[in-house]
Amino acid sequence: MTASRTAATVHPTHEDLVDERIILCYYVAALTFLTVSMSAGLLVALQLVHWNPLTGVELLSPGRWRMIHTNAVAYGFLANAFLGTLHWVVPRLTFHKVASRSLSWFIFVAWQVIVGLTAVGIIFGPTFQDQPWLLDLAKQWHLPMNLGAQGVEWGETPFWIDPVALLGLALVAVNFMVPIGRSKGPMYVTLWYFMAAFVWTFLTYAMGNLLPEYAVAGTSAGAIGGLFIHDLVGLFVTPLGWGLMYYFVPILLKRPIWSHGLSLVGFWGLAFFYPLQGIHHFLYTPIPMFLQYGAVISTIAVELVVATVVINFFGTLGKKGSEFFTNLPIRYFYTGMVFYFITCFQCALQVTLTFQKLIHFTDWVVGHAHLVMFGVFSLWLFGIMTYLIPRLLRRPWYSRTLCEYHYWLSSAGLFVMFLDLTLAGVFQGWYWASLQPWDASTDGSQPFWITRVFAGLTMFAGLLCFLYNLWMTWRGAEAAEPSAGRIASVTA
């Protein structure tokens, strides 16, 4: 598709448009943070089953590394991998370069500094919290003044980094909005999602990190916190992820999206219903009940919208179903979509007050979060990397087998973890409701938590296969397998 487009004389060439080096740099950064995040997850998982060998070490405290786990995956892995991929997709879709290449590199460096400093703040902040000047400031202004994590879930980024991160997000929006603004003619679906995502991400970050810290306390801050947790997934990760699917799936299948009408329903349905649901994270809190009902209803509504999107993509796959088995990136994408459908179906049930009684506060929710963050968006990004990296390095993958291992270990490990934590959640909910002593629930969770350790190790092993494969491909090792033709066709 793109080859014929860029060959035309009226359009700039791929080399003019795309800065391939920055994409590789983003991917290296993304995979580095993913490794950190998974190590942190492993540490916390080991703590829960009493196998933590590093217990009692202040700088390796599982409480602090739990926040490294979530922040590194959201801002280190997903954001970096998305930004890298955007540098490929946006110029090729709009036929215009990003606003400025030097700005791109500035954003790249700045973003790594932001994520790195967030980690430094979370790890070292609490150790140095007890400074007289900090306490004086907190007393004078009645503000939290945490050197380390802020008390906002997914928004733990210390308050002193927030303004820099906001500036970074604004620059990202400008850098990619300029080529979108310059493009002529009707916009393709992908660009609807991207454009909205640039606006939403900035607004969401500003709302969630500034309001509960400086403007409101108590119940209304809870409503904002719920909205932030929710919008971060729904208005930053989701639109970028689906935008990329609308771009890569038709290219890889060499056929157009099945229904343009359903694309419209999917986008506008998501845009309208998704941000209305924040409060469903805090059902049965003192937040007014009529607001809780509203959040529940719009959540169920958005799951219907999701169904139309998934149907549209399976219509696109159509009779090319065999590609699912032969084309690895396509397999990643459609596995992610199946997981997405499970996530959303689960969500329509668990958001009801009936389910909430039992499963709120339990590992059910943790399983749900892993299913969406790893099972959907990470798998999609793995698929995109599997497709793009041979193009960026201009050589086939070192080992197709290792690519397969990466897929199977990641998706199978994730699926086991999801089932395991979901079941654990049901057990925990009933242990608590039965008014047994608290120990009953933590002791009863042990089999599930032990299973989770091994499921996580499986996913980690998949990542190690990918990293080794990438290393060998990068340094130009000869493909380990003879069927070079097959390798090329797999990723083509």
């Binding site: 409480g63 919290q129 007393k139 306390a217 119940t219 209304s220 809870g222 938590w449």
Partner: protein, 212 residues
């Protein structure tokens, strides 16, 4: 409109975001805007002050070095620092701070949480929490003694069988009877939680639980 740049930028991007913010964020903010947000000094009550004095009596040298004399002002300082530690160490990721009206929670923890309990500086950002690996802590104050908390922070499994909670030896100068400033502050904070209520059940005393 549905596929144009301005439609997507202004209606979907800014419009729908603001609509949702109005409905989900601004409504509760406006509903509660006239309520007074208490400062840390204002939430110090006699119960937490007694606990603070108990810490001074129990660990005189540590307390002298960390806070000097017992006073309401010093107690507010301990609450502020204690909360900062509680957030920074990620306690709120495993301990919620709200009691729901379902799932027998009011029998285990005490009265269902009310909005006015959260109108204070120490709930900025609010610490409802989303996960309970350990129990809810919003009625924890006064349930257990300061010495229990000290040992529990130092090595949870000493007093709580098979607890998966991490150890916090950096709240102490080498032994559980020598809490440092951070340790004393975080214990004061935990003893404050729920101290504003007149009373609440002590669920281990329930007949069903006792009969085990």
């Amino acid at each position: 409109m549905f596929e144009s740049k301005s439609g997507i930028f202004f209606i979907a991007g800014i419009g729908f975001f603001l609509l949702a913010f109005l409905g989900n964020g601004a409504v509760p903010m406006l509903m509660y805007k006239d309520r007074h947000e208490q400062t840390a000094e204002e939430v110090v009550n006699q119960k937490v002050l007694n606990q603070f004095a108990d810490l001074a009596e129990r660990y005189p040298e540590s307390f002298q070095a960390a806070f000097g004399e017992v006073s309401a002002e010093k107690c507010a300082e301990a609450l502020r620092l204690g909360r900062q530690i509680y957030v920074g160490e990620g306690c709120w990721h495993c301990h919620s701070q709200f009691v729901r009206p379902v799932s027998n929670e009011s029998r285990r923890y005490g009265p269902v949480s009310k909005s006015e309990e959260y109108d204070n500086e120490l709930q900025r950002p609010v610490l409802f929490g989303t996960r309970r690996v350990g129990p809810d802590l919003s009625r924890e104050g006064g349930r257990r003694g300061n010495d229990w908390h000290a040992v529990h922070f130092y090595r949870p499994r000493t007093v709580s069988n098979n607890s998966p909670m991490p150890e916090y030896p950096w709240f102490f100068d080498g032994a559980p009877d020598k809490p440092n400033r951070r340790g004393l502050a975080v214990i004061t904070y935990v003893q404050w939680l729920g101290s504003w209520l007149d009373e609440y059940p002590y669920y281990e005393e329930l007949a069903e639980v006792k009969s085990e």
